[in-house]
């Protein structure tokens, strides 16, 4: 039996090529995940307990960060999607200079996030910000971008949309360039206006790309940390404290590793549920289209 086992092992199998990746993934992803779960189910002293979970679910600031993250996700993902689609359709017009514009439009995506945050924070500043000065002078308004709890999250999402839309634009552009011109020629012959072409031809045909990019956008958006941390530190009045900031503030800055692990475990569960629902809903939508 042992000899047979050895012989079976000596045969070349595809699965052997996955072993190095499995080892790396296990040590860098699976082990930390399991350790995280273990920490969340134990107190600081190592005693098994669900006290962290009961404390988390009673914490109003945890629910606040979930609500803020939900608002953030809706704003930034919608904004990214719309701006990315508009830009990709404009670039796809193939007018003179579109290659140059495409390169220029990639600059925000290539700029380091911390530099982006620093500059935007200065631009938004109520006293010496150029945006503040320009818009208020032009429109006679008195906007304080980052000082109002009700609207600070909106202005932060502008930064995020500015940074990320060009990446989405590239993805959608690759899909648009895969659509044959014959289809549009046929539409023109039939007299279909541009909006009919957009909603009946273009969007359905690039739906698989939109679906994938949207999922990446959602996950990236809800994992966002740098923008609120650098620009508003979660304020004013914790109105921009996203879930990742909450986890950082409690788990790392507050040295409450077990409690932070609990918050991140619950967050992972939420993200997984979101991903499953998303895939299910979009699967159905894709079937309906085709």
């Amino acid at each position: 039996m042992f000899t047979r086992l050895l012989q079976a092992l000596k045969k070349e199998r595809v699965i052997y090529y996955f072993i190095p990746a499995a080892i790396v993934l296990s040590s860098l992803a699976v082990y930390p995940l399991l350790n995280n779960l273990w920490l969340s189910l134990h107190t600081k002293t190592g005693k098994p307990s669900i006290a962290n979970y009961s404390r988390l679910f009673k914490d109003k600031w945890f629910w606040n960060s979930i609500a803020v993250t939900g608002k953030w996700m809706l704003l930034s993902v919608t904004g990214e999607l719309l701006v990315g689609l508009i830009l990709s359709n404009l670039i796809n017009l193939r007018l003179k200079g579109t290659k140059l514009f495409r390169t220029i439009l990639m600059i925000p995506w290539m700029t380091p996030m911390i530099a982006v945050c620093t500059i935007w924070a200065w631009m938004y500043n109520g006293d010496f910000g150029i945006l503040n000065y320009g818009i208020n002078q032009l429109f006679g308004t008195n906007i304080l971008f980052l000082s109002k709890p009700q609207t600070a999250i909106v202005w932060l999402s502008v930064v995020y949309i500015w940074k990320r839309s060009s990446f989405n634009m590239l993805m959608y552009l690759s899909g648009l360039q895969g659509i044959s011109d014959d289809i549009y020629d046929a539409c023109k012959v039939d007299g279909a206006p541009w909006y009919t072409q957009l909603f009946k031809i273009t969007l359905p045909l690039i739906f698989p790309i939109i679906r994938s990019v949207l999922l990446i956008s959602i996950i990236t958006a809800i994992n966002q940390f740098t923008i609120p941390y650098s620009i508003t530190r979660g304020g004013p009045s914790r109105s921009t404290e996203l879930i990742q900031m909450y986890i950082y503030n409690t788990g790392i800055a507050g040295f409450q590793y077990n409690y932070g692990a609990t918050a991140s475990t619950v967050f992972i569960a939420i993200v997984l549920c979101l991903a499953v629902v998303y895939i299910f809903v979009t699967d159905k939508a894709e079937e309906d289209i085709y």
Binding site: N125, S147, T232, G234, G235, R238, N249, I252, G254
Partner: protein, 428 residues
């Protein structure tokens, strides 16, 4: 044996005994520090970098076979890196840490007592330093760190703006600060404010903490009782302090961007001439205004409700983790950086009493800071989760500034959260 020979023999034995005793004394004084001494610190301050480099070179010259490894950890992650390393028994030999962090490390048993080590180097810490500096790092007579620097905030102001407004002396209480702020605030022809009278931070937990808690103390209140079992934020004193803090934002004598600005941004506005007065520490003002010769800076005692406020102590401690591999080496390094020679290397402000009471530290610029440190300073309550406590206070202040909550409900809500933090640390 002849008499002379006996006497010679006796003298020789005596000499050998004395020599051996000296050797023993020296051996007790000198610590065995061969090997590596690993030092973790935030290299944010130029003078600290120079000081540590000086100590490294001195030790490596005097103790052949010893290497000192200086590792700079970015300020933002210093405390968390040190905590993680110490809890994993992989800490350095010397940790330079903000004083707010030391108490937490001590309570978790992560620090080595320094009494015996420093005594072997002929140091008497309680005599050489202000004993109050050890409040948060001692348990009875056991000390867990050595003060490296201490700071206390003071009022800084633009002397030229004061002269222009006809103000001859700095303000000494709340009423005067409010009055001065109005006089110093200037608008242009279109009604836009070009100079604000007073700059205060509206974001960053620690920056607000250092400026609102002294106001609460000055008004006769506190964040909790001395045993740290009961939150006492919900008081008339807190209400008055918050009304005072908000008044500048409301009447336009503090920057309209106050809610977005931490103290660094506020101080930058002070340095650029957009703010006439602010509450700032000696290091920032010296490095960014005085050394750059921007303008003449006046320094005054921190004005409180009815007189000088007691400011919260800031600064740095030098500590030895209990997991340190070279504790003797760590002690020698700390001895050097906290010696008179080390302290004289422009550390702001030197914690050693002998240096603080001498020369430069009593002039017009440093004098008020020294006086604040010597007579008007105390430690903040030692919250185990200091970051969370500071966030509670920041949130309370921001709620009031943005009118998200009225003062009473903001205070009541913050009081509940502070009580929760106290309950958690008392249970543990």
């Amino acid at each position: 044996m002849r008499l002379i020979q006996k006497v010679m023999l006796l003298l020789l034995c005596l000499a050998m005994t004395i020599s051996l005793s000296c050797q023993t004394v020296l051996a007790e004084k000198q610590l065995d520090i061969k090997g590596e001494i690993v030092v973790w610190y935030a290299g944010a301050s130029e003078s600290r970098v120079e000081l540590y480099q000086w100590a490294k070179e001195k030790i490596e010259a005097e103790y052949p076979g010893t290497t000192v490894t200086l590792e700079v950890i970015p300020m933002a992650e210093l405390a968390s890196r040190q905590m993680t390393a110490c809890q994993s028994n992989m800490g350095p030999d010397v940790m330079s840490q903000p004083i707010a962090a030391t108490n937490g490390f001590m309570k978790l048993g992560l620090l080595e007592p320094v009494n015996e080590l420093m005594q072997r180097l002929d140091r008497n810490l309680l005599e050489e330093f202000n004993p109050d500096f050890f409040e948060l790092m001692r348990e009875g007579d056991t000390l867990y760190g050595v003060p490296q620097s201490r700071t206390a905030l003071a009022l800084v102001y633009n002397k030229a703006m004061f002269e222009e407004a006809g103000l001859t002396e700095p303000p000494k209480n709340w009423n005067e600060v409010q009055e001065y702020a109005k006089q110093l605030t200037k608008k242009d022809n279109e009604g836009n404010t070009v100079v604000y009278g007073l700059g205060l931070p509206g974001t960053s937990g620690s920056h607000i903490w250092y400026r609102i808690i002294p106001e609460i103390w000055g008004a006769g209140g506190d964040i909790c009782n001395s045993e740290m079992t009961q939150a006492t934020l919900d008081s008339e004193a807190t209400k008055k302090a918050l009304e005072y803090y908000k008044s500048f934002y409301e009447n336009g004598t503090a920057p309209r961007s106050m809610v977005e600005n931490d103290q660094t941004a506020t101080s930058q506005m002070f340095a650029s001439g957009a703010v006439a007065m602010t509450i700032e520490n000696v290091t920032w003002i010296r490095n960014n205004v005085v050394r750059e010769n921007l303008f003449d800076v006046g320094v005054a005692l921190y004005p409180g409700m009815n007189g000088t406020n007691v400011a919260g102590l800031g600064g740095w401690n030098a500590c030895i983790p209990s997991s340190a591999k070279n504790k003797e080496g760590a002690a020698v390094f700390i001895d050097l950086i906290t010696s008179k020679e080390g302290m004289e290397q422009q550390l702001l402000m030197p914690a050693l009493t002998e240096v603080l009471e001498a020369g430069d530290w009593t002039d017009d610029f440093y004098g008020p800071y020294s006086k604040m440190l010597a007579e008007y300073s105390r430690d903040f309550p030692a919250f185990e989760n200091a970051a969370a406590a500071q966030t509670v206070i920041m949130n309370m202040v921001q709620s009031i500034l943005t009118d998200s909550a009225d003062i009473s409900s903001a205070i009541a809500s913050a009081n509940v959260e502070i009580q929760e933090l106290l309950d958690q640390q008392n249970v543990e």
